[in-house]
Symmetry: C2
Subunit: 94 residues, 2 copies
Amino acid sequence: MKRFHVEVRVKPRPGLLDPEGKAIHHALDSLGYEGVAGVRVGKAIDLELEASGRNEAEARAREMCRKLLANPVTEDFELTVAEAPSEDAGSPSS
Amino acid sequence: MKRFHVEVRVKPRPGLLDPEGKAIHHALDSLGYEGVAGVRVGKAIDLELEASGRNEAEARAREMCRKLLANPVTEDFELTVAEAPSEDAGSPSS
């Protein structure tokens, strides 16, 4: 089993209200930042998964998104999978 | 001026409590997902910025993160900048 690092982004679907994004946009305007054309806020979820390969890690992460992490009616998600550096190198089993 | 799409990820600093991540980790366990070694939850913020170039867009986004989007004591942030496709192609000014 290898360790994979999955970065998930869950975002409100286009067209749906995003009150937190609107609040941040307003705050940026108040702070004097010009040229901000849009702000959308969602969740960034980092998963550390044990899996036999990248495809399995991605398939499981997608299933977790569909079943728990994202609301299929109001949210979209995207994810990236990367093999985690083997941090266990410092703890040999011998 | 060009349009840039900036993806910001704001995450709780390593070692700090992340109750939402813990709750999701517990829920994944309850749903029968094994091999989940860690879950961290933060914010995914998408900014649409007008800027003269990529460097300016990134510098302004970093400043926004430092001043508003991330709590410098408890959160880290990372961001990626991409030039947005010119969606105005469909609305000629003629």
